[in-house]
Symmetry: C2
Subunit: 394 residues, 2 copies
């Protein structure tokens, strides 16, 4: 598998620096987030190695012990091994500005991931265009597992991708339901993509990899930590236009994802259950306090997070017909190959337009399900299927 950066040869200095930073600074460090925004990754990395000041223009002087921990880890890091071992396992690096970067993460501001490690057949940005997060208890009830699986499958049949955390219980039922329904699924892990945590999900992760996407902020070899799980939850909320809490007790970790969802002003949904079940008490509290909307099926979800006008219908159709595209979008669509992929520059040339215009059109076409971005570049979705379901063939 080639890295998205392979089009332009080796990963840039910026990308390498971001990759290295994922290995030495725990995710969602606001100081590093601010420094990256101010100076760029390569400069921050150089300053870290050189022992220069890491004071952000907007913040107080950083805790010296913390910076020293970063510096000693940075000094010990072998960047070459970091990147080649990932490439050997088919893990690609996705950084801000890459075509595969999910721009919705930018709303996290200084808590935005430094970079993402991604594995799997599906383009992460494309998969998340029409996605919904599904979260809930690890120790789910039979009811919760049934509901998660059925809902993910019904959403998948309407071409909605389920994003979850790869854990036991509701997470796993959601991933499996989405795959059963024929859509990709995205598992956001709190450890390195080679760790197979939890161990019992080795097969599930293999399936997700083959027909969806595994994502992590952590480089290979990172073990999961409590902090890792909590910051991972913000990523699940930020990747998707909405989060469904399927089954959660009053102190479930899923409520942490719900909190992030509300902070990001995304749609929060909860599935009700029997009031006699302690594992639905968290969902009911969200409903009672008017923080979540009650959803009982894929139609409810599509109405809440779907594209206005496209997803109100329950007949499974979505996206405008190609005849409604403007001239430029139609030329760009014509320039996208059907089988293998092509870079944006090639497509822009074929469409007789600029790269910026081509990228804008490609984004719109992807959102409408006409094209998708795979590892080898942009390619045409099967037109009839795209028109019927608004989404790519699997």
């Amino acid at each position: 598998m080639t890295s998205p950066a392979a089009d332009s040869g080796e990963p840039s200095h910026e990308a390498v620096a971001r990759a290295c930073l994922t290995a030495v600074v725990p995710p969602a460090d606001p100081l590093l987030g601010a420094l990256l925004a101010e100076r760029g990754a390569a400069a921050v990395w150089r300053a870290l190695l050189a022992g220069e000041s890491l004071r952000s223009g907007t913040g107080d002087a950083p805790d010296p012990a913390r910076v020293e921990r970063w510096r000693s880890r940075a000094a010990a890091l072998d960047a070459e091994t970091l990147l080649t071992s990932a490439a050997d396992l088919g893990v690609r690096l996705v950084t801000p500005g890459d075509p595969e970067w999910p721009v919705q993460l930018d709303q996290l501001a200084e808590n935005r991931p430094y970079a993402l490690w991604v594995r799997g057949t599906h383009d992460l940005r494309n998969a998340c265009l029409r996605s919904v997060a599904m979260v809930g208890s690890r120790a789910a009830t039979g009811y919760g597992l049934h509901v998660a699986g059925e809902l993910a499958c019904a959403l998948a049949e309407r071409s909605w991708c389920a994003v979850s955390g790869g854990a036991y219980g509701i997470d796993a039922a959601s991933h499996r339901g989405a795959l059963a329904g024929g859509a990709p699924t995205v598992a956001v892990l709190a450890c390195g993509l080679d760790m197979n945590y939890p161990r019992g999900h080795e097969n599930l992760f293999g399936d997700v990899c083959a027909r969806g996407t595994l994502v992590s902020e952590h480089p290979l070899g990172t073990r999961p930590t409590r902090h890792g799980f909590l910051v991972r939850n913000r990523l699940i909320a930020a990747l998707t236009p909405g989060t469904i809490v399927v089954e959660a007790g009053r102190r479930s970790g899923a409520l942490n994802t719900a909190k992030h969802t509300l902070e990001l002003c995304r749609a929060l949904m909860a599935v009700p259950g029997p009031i006699t079940s302690a594992l639905s008490a968290g969902c009911h509290q969200l409903l009672r306090d008017h923080r979540a909307v009650c959803v009982t099926g894929a139609d409810d979800v599509a109405e809440l997070v779907g594209h206005i006008g496209a997803d109100l219908r329950s007949d499974g159709t979505a996206g405008p017909p190609p005849t409604q595209l403007d001239d430029e979008a139609r030329r760009v669509l014509a320039g996208v190959p059907r089988g293998s992929g092509a870079g944006a520059a090639t497509i822009a040339l074929a469409a007789e337009t600029g790269i910026d215009s081509a990228l804008r059109c490609l984004g719109l076409l992807a959102a409408a399900g006409f094209v998708e971005r795979g590892p080898a570049g942009w390619r045409r979705s099967d037109a009839s299927r795209a028109q019927a379901t608004g989404r790519v063939p699997l």
Copy 2:
């Protein structure tokens, strides 16, 4: 059992006319409602018998066929039998202005009942002061029956009275739960109080009668009709500060009560259930559309419909201690007998205050659980229990 009107001897002309009107005009007739407000019941009754115009000052000329139906029924009515047969069965007549009249019904305006036929040991107005309506499907699931019974019982233990419709399913489970929890319960029937409809509830109605209140807008002998059920629902909604839909399919009659509840600006609550149950779909729709608040227990309900400050605590206490009463209220309370009842005039005399002031204080004392109005007049609730639970001993 004596009628509340017995204090002042025979029922007034107004009351008798209202009783007769319940027998000749179907409930909730807006023309009759307007006429009663304009002319009073005795004048309307005389005009009806005399064949005079029944045109309301605010409306169009009434349909002559409709008025003729009323007139012929009125001519055939034996008022004496109507009243004595009710009294023989222990059924009392309650009309607007009576101390037992639930003034919250006045919000129904021209749809207010002409009069109520009441049977049972508990004062209707008093029972409804601290009440909640519980409605739902007749063909309820085991889950719904369990939840209705438990919720009504838990509310009863906090001195909340359940008001329902006496039907099979959720209604019956609510009445039984309330009785099991030691509170009175009010069954609002869509037929005469001698009809025992549904037949299988003869024993239940006996229990409600012995430890609560049966109510109907219809005189003895009236069979239930579809129209009767629908207008009965407005009464359930109007008697209580809030309605809980425990279990309801998408087309359940309980949703009709929910509609009345919202129209009257009372609190609407719904109990969630498994999304796999069609009999919870009506509840979930109310929640999804933000028409009802999600409730999962007595604490939720008390917070929504309780008196501010008194019902936020879940330790079962309610009402101010007697030491917080003002001077006049304390004098009035001292004038209320402990065992049998006394009229407001007697109490006002003992308290050295006017009748109006005494009635105002008695209302407040009843709301706080210090006194109750029984068939023989006002009497003291057991003070310690009243202070502990805010309600009367049974």
